[in-house]
Amino acid sequence: MTLLVLAAVALGTGLATIFLGEQRRALALAVGIAGSLAVLALALVMPDTDSLIVGGVGMVSTPVVRAMAVAWSASLAVLGLLEIAVGGRPTVVGPSLIGLAVAGLALATKDPASSMAALAAGGVAGVVVPGLAGWLDAPNMPSRLPTTNRGTLAILGSGLLGLGVIAWGTSAAGPLGGSGATGSLDPAAQLGLGLALLVMVAAVAIRTGLIPLHVWAARFMEGVSPLAVPAAFAWGSAAFVLVALDWSQVALGQTAASGGERWLIIFVAMTSVILGGLAAMVHDDIEHVLGYSILQDAAVAVLAFASLNPDVVAAARNWLVASATVKTALAAWASVVRTTYGGHRLDDLSGWARHSPALGVAFAGILVAAIGLPNMALFQARTDLVEGALPGIGAAIAIVIAAMPAIYLGRIAIAGLGPVSPAIAAGLSGRPRWRGGRAAGWSGGPLIQAIRAIPGELRANRAPLMALGVLALSVMALLTATGGAGG
């Protein structure tokens, strides 16, 4: 029941934020942040095994649903505050709340077709709202509208493809419609199971923008606020992969991934892992680093389809929730750096960490969380995922994959420790400063004067406050990377 209330609150406040956003920005953001906090409170009190039947289908709020709701809503509240500071059209909180509501329901529902349809419907807002805002904000870049169009098609298309393969799988002629289902392993049944798995992986590849289907995603990330990226890609993709993975594991079983399909899935995933990591390493602009790193994370999760082993699927749950939290923190960092210093290329960002120590500390936390330490859930999940797909050599490959964020995030860290460039020096100061606490033209008592001075102090300390927000997200990323999602 708590889950239903949570979804209703998230859906209602999300829609209100979107509809109010165009005319009344401050009110919309206030509603969005209040909604995020309410959802966080509900997620914290939600029991792990809350179950009910809705519309003839059972819904169970598992630990993964709870962990995802807590991590997503908490980071969303911080993103909302950052959105106030960053300015611009409100495109982050509303779509994210809708995505959160739908993801929670989809992960709890025991009917995969309902989950897939709901995820397709709920994921579109995360692309359309920021995409249209990005297009409206840049009238000299008409190509952003076709990019939004393609993004919409990718989100809806992946959901429809997933829905189609689930329907075909359970049809009388499908691999699961027979009396024997996964038990009878004649060549035709084996072929059907493998084909169903490959089509589901194709839907996942479209949804997550794996290489070579990543072009629209890369263009999309160039045209929107970095704060809007996690809802569209990190969290939205995570929910989609989790539903697809659950269906593949429960309905198809491990036998579906036993032949050539297994190697095809490994090839698709490893292509994106390697090329995504390399692209993040060679790109100089931080939005591309963010985008390709999210793509690489999704590709690591896709490796779970190559084995469908229950332990590996559990690792994928930990990995998806933890990596989404880490990439939310990275997106917040990218947005704050861009707002504070104006630049988004490494050449323009020399000395950023020296100029804003709090932002530097936050980035250090993100770096550690992204790489992981041997005892952390994220590190173990990555090792399990790669080892499950490639037994024997998986552990070594996992270390190579872990080294990639060390390189592409390490480059940014090194730039931050370099000499402060004129562009950074001209930006907002990352250090807190006290204006004296006296509001201009006010002669009341000390307490009232202090209250009157708060807005001015907040404005004067915008940059350090934004850095504090990133620091909070960084701590959250470290906690999730350490504890996982109870997968």
């Binding site: 003839g56 349809a117 009238p139 008409p142 509208l145 049809s171 009388a172």
Partner: protein, 242 residues
């Protein structure tokens, strides 16, 4: 074979042909409404009143949103005309029937029944014979789905941004939802709600993108900033001005 279902399938296809081919915005919206309402009724037996209500409301909402977007968008009739679209829809429906019969044959080879029977048809307990698969209600739903799929795919994939693409998006979404029922049987109530939410979101998204595209075209024409004269001529010949 249920004659009422056959009539509904014909109405769905006719509405979809009208929606994608006419140059009149109101007629296009009416055609889309017919297609979507017909699709809502494509079920044997009919679903519960609550589910039927959700389906009908979603269909009307989508048609309203698309019509609303048409007010500001340029008209985009089918470049090949309604007869060609009608032939395409017929071909799609026949392919759907073939698909349904093929699935029935494949299932019959495994000794199972396919889908739910139509009125007056053998019950689900009896296996379908390979050589004599009847046209069941599921086969008709599959035919309607494939018909909408072929009609909607071209404007969705190759159409210029605007209402025609929005109609294509709605038709393809509805097609997949029909195919889902056609091959796997009726949905549970929760899935019905999710399906209709997906349809409404597809309509809303299509309408929003069509309105944005109309604004973009209007802005370009106002500022006379079309970079490529050939593209401008081609664009204006395919987008009929009001």
């Amino acid at each position: 074979m249920n004659l009422a279902l056959v009539a509904i399938v014909l109405a769905v296809a006719a509405g979809a042909v009208l929606a994608v081919s006419t140059r009149d915005g109101a007629a296009s919206a009416i055609g889309l409404a017919f297609a979507l309402l017909g699709a809502a009724l494509l079920s044997d037996p009919l679903p519960s009143p609550a589910v039927l209500g959700v389906r009908v409301v979603a269909a009307l909402l989508v048609a309203t949103m698309i019509r609303s977007a048409m007010r500001s968008a340029p008209r985009q009739p089918s470049p090949v005309g309604w007869p060609s679209e009608a032939f395409l829809a017929t071909a799609g429906a026949i392919a759907g029937l073939g698909l349904a019969v093929g699935l029935a044959s494949a299932a019959a080879a495994g000794g199972q029944s396919v889908g739910l029977p139509g009125i007056g048809e053998p019950g689900p307990a009896g296996p379908v014979e390979t050589g004599g698969a009847a046209v069941t209600s599921m086969a008709l739903i599959t035919a309607a789905g494939t018909s909408l799929l072929v009609l909607g795919a071209a404007p969705l994939v190759h159409g210029r941004p605007g209402t025609r693409r929005a109609i294509g998006l709605v038709l393809v979404t509805q097609a997949v939802l029909l195919l889902r029922i056609g091959v796997a049987g009726p949905a549970v109530e929760l899935e019905e709600i999710a399906r209709e939410a997906l349809l409404v979101v597809a309509g809303a998204t299509g309408a929003a993108l069509a309105s944005a595209a109309a604004g973009s075209m209007l802005g370009r024409e106002t500022e006379d900033e079309l970079p490529d004269p050939d593209a401008a001529v081609e664009g204006r010949s395919s987008v009929v001005a009001r």
